[in-house]
Symmetry: C2
Subunit: 222 residues, 2 copies
């Protein structure tokens, strides 16, 4: 229980282990993405469509993080790829140790892309590096365009922002420009994609970006 | 002394305050850069030349972090811009609290660019967010091309890497490609500039990039 010892630092210990994971991913040439959002923003639906679209193009596996249940891993596994479930048993985020301890379930050399779907939460996951290459954040337009100011850390650490459920835009008050301006103020290089995981609208750009990330890791791997 | 209370988390507390700083910088439309490197890599020399080159183009201020002495702030102030010194009194990095407490010395509305020169160290500064927009790392070619693998966190969190002292390349064994490959494996989007703060070689690209960052913040600020 070193996490609660006097003077210990949970995040520092996590960062060290995350770096260990990252080195591992780099050595195996597998691109790793940490997918984060509030509950119900559509992470698993996004993954299902993404996995189907990339089938045959990349070898993919998924780690599902949830407080409890293995529903999401079952949903993903039904699409014919390796998927394992981590239950945090209460914690509002995955940590590098959990990811590390579950990597033995995969043969990293046989993967191009590993997606880690984090616990649905806009706060804690942003603080915990898992060793991924990129953090990708999902914000559904039903959640409101004021979220960047309220959850700035998440928007600051993300490499890409997916504005999901745009098929619902006619039915909600969500100012896309306002949300994007707020996000970019916190993150000058943020890639933003507007899409709908339900209808598939806007998926071409998102998939093309994913392709380019996987290719970049392969290129570095040599 | 909340930092050493049972169960406290130094990094978590720092991250919260860093976010507070960042919000402050965003509101005032000032681009903030956290400059990090090993001791003697050339941070202050780089800043002196950068400040001179940008005079009249941007309104600049500098925060100097050192364990002790106010030599670096004096060097920068001699170039006619506001410069304050923070002495960490032993700590190997600046933290968000120190930056926060010294911001009152500046009028942020009258600045375009604030550079925070961190304590010379390749480990601790990488862990402490100060609220900057970008972290920029300097690696001098006299330090060796094996540094990415040895200090992976620093290379992972940096937005740009300046390979400094390239005027000394004929005299050292430093493989630019090896260093760049190692760095990009940890950081897919890393911008890399090869330059010499002493001779000014390669400065055009670095200055153009800085210009673009300042302009991007201004554009978001509206």
């Amino acid at each position: 229980m070193h996490e609660i010892a006097l003077g210990s630092d949970i995040l520092a210990a996590n960062n060290t282990l995350a770096q260990h994971n990252r080195q591992h991913f780099v050595e195996h040439g597998v691109y790793v993405l940490n997918l984060m959002s509030a509950p119900g923003a559509g992470k698993t639906t996004l993954l299902e469509r993404t996995v189907d679209a990339l089938a045959g193009r990349h070898r993919i596996a998924v780690i599902e993080g949830d407080v409890q249940t293995r529903e999401d891993a079952d949903r993903i596994a039904a699409h014919g790829i390796p998927a394992i479930q981590i239950n945090t048993g209460g914690a509002c985020h995955l940590d590098a140790r959990q990811v590390h301890d579950h990597l033995r379930h995969f043969s990293l050399d046989e993967l191009d892309l590993l997606v880690i779907e984090n616990v649905g939460n806009l706060v804690c996951p942003a603080e915990f590096d898992l060793g991924e290459h990129d953090r990708v954040m999902l914000l559904s337009v039903t959640e409101g365009d004021d979220k960047p100011a309220k959850y700035p850390v998440m928007f600051h650490v993300a490499r890409a922002l997916l504005l999901n459920k745009i098929d619902l835009l006619p039915h909600v008050d969500f100012d896309l420009e306002r949300a994007e301006r707020g996000a970019r103020a916190l993150n000058l290089d943020l890639e933003i994609f507007r899409l709908s995981a339900r209808t598939g609208e806007g998926f071409e750009s998102w998939l093309a970006w994913l392709d380019s990330r996987v290719a970049r890791v392969k290129a570095q791997h040599g």
